[in-house]
Symmetry: C2
């Protein structure tokens, strides 16, 4: 049923916009929604039962970002940390010659702007792929907040650590030499990412266009089309523009292994037994 595609965090269709989303007129939050520390910790994945331990005084503003709008600008002075509450973003870096690269995508529970802690400025821009909402935390108050609310702190740390792991996965996706394998890995990773957020891992709704996927994977966008075609012809997927259903996950995983020929032998194994046998 179509209901599997519907989630509490996603609007029914890309073209349908809730009326409270400000689109062309940048009229700032007239009705500033806020959430408390307890909800924020929960959003970050902290135990819901944690609420009792924390002082619930702080309130954080929720920002609405219309589709296509830029949440943070690359190179801008970093002052805020954002947690995606609903919707999705693409993270983009622009080279000095104007060429853009899509670093990745951010979904509910992801943190945007954490790189502001290391430098002065944001390292990349974040553009909303659909009407979205984020929780805004002033960077300046972060240290104090973490000190005062250990449970929130733990949740934040876990998210960042997870994001670091995630970055490794992205590198892995990109390392595949064959275009088919790259796309397969991307889809598998996306599927896992959705599952992690309690959504269906079989039915995916691609919030980004082919060009963004291609850019992200370092491929031509025509190649994305062709690879998707190949996979649907093989019976692995069912694709309808942005809607995607994974029919044969095993085949997809098998495809994701392709280096571009026979996989390479691992000469590392010849070194380890020395230590193993020493015992």
């Amino acid at each position: 049923m179509a209901t599997t595609l519907m989630t509490s965090t996603a609007p029914p269709l890309l073209t349908a916009h809730a009326s409270w989303f400000v689109r062309s007129s940048p009229q700032p939050q007239a009705d500033a929604v806020q959430i408390d520390l307890r909800s924020l910790t929960e959003l970050l994945g902290g135990a819901p039962g944690s609420a009792a331990g924390e002082t619930g005084g702080e309130r954080f503003s929720v920002r609405r970002v219309a589709r296509g709008a830029t949440l943070v600008h690359e190179g801008a002075r970093a002052s805020m940390l954002y947690v995606v509450q609903a919707g999705s973003f693409k993270c983009v870096q622009t080279a000095e010659d104007g060429y853009e690269h899509v670093l990745g995508f951010a979904w509910r529970r992801d943190v945007i702007g954490y790189d502001g802690l290391s430098g002065e400025n944001y390292a990349f821009a974040a553009v909303a792929l659909e009407d979205s909402t984020v929780v805004a935390l002033p960077l300046a108050s972060l240290a104090v907040l973490r000190q005062r609310a250990p449970l929130f702190d733990a949740a934040l740390q876990a998210i960042v650590a997870r994001q670091l792991t995630h970055a490794g996965e992205i590198a892995r996706v990109m390392s595949a030499v064959a275009a088919n394998a790259r796309l397969a890995r991307f889809l598998i990773q996306l599927s896992a990412s959705m599952a992690e957020r309690g959504q269906s891992s079989r039915h995916l709704l691609l919030r980004m266009n082919r060009r963004d996927i291609a850019n992200h994977l370092g491929l031509a966008h025509e190649t994305i089309s062709r690879s998707l075609r190949m996979m649907t012809d093989a019976g692995w997927l069912r694709v309808d523009i942005r809607e995607l259903e994974i029919l044969d996950p095993a085949a997809l995983r098998r495809c994701a292994r392709n280096t571009r020929g026979p996989a390479e032998a691992t000469p590392l194994a010849s070194r380890q037994p020395v230590l193993a046998f020493a015992a």
Copy 2:
């Protein structure tokens, strides 16, 4: 001068090993070296003047890792966090079919094992590329430590944030479609990384072999050889096996922009005058 290649953190040559490095015999630290919190914070890049504020009671053990030895095993229960003090590591992930992927490399000041905070186990293995030393922090004591030593905490946070930014850079390196551009970006990034650590940005000593570089970049190792050859022929580099000198950074950066089209042709020049004339 050759002194630009010499740093306090690097052994003079790959083939020269300090005698105190245990090689084939895994005899554990008989003489356990330790450092205090003050030195650790400094290693992480925290202000050296910070020493006064922290309680200097804690001491952390320094582990020696021989070349080729594995510091952390993928999938092993995560119990420690390591900070690289000297030497270098490659971070490797092994797929279920035995195929290995080099996620990246870790140098002095980098943190290994931070992903243990999110899950139970390490997400990837770390193998020493040369005889190296790391500072070991028990994950269990991390929360308490951060609470007690805010300056250490801040330094650690900054490092992690930097590593997150760094992960984005890796994705950017990999996104280049042309092999030349990928290698160029890798070299530029490596150069910047070395400069960040106070080493020369022109003279690089490649601690990893061609196969690892190729694996990391998603290319064939023969392609690495050929690309390096092309760059030396063009006068951009001087390469002697593992020693590498960047002669023309500008050309390298220009190459890094290539999507794949004409190997060289810089359309940048044809674009700029338009803006110049507009003034």
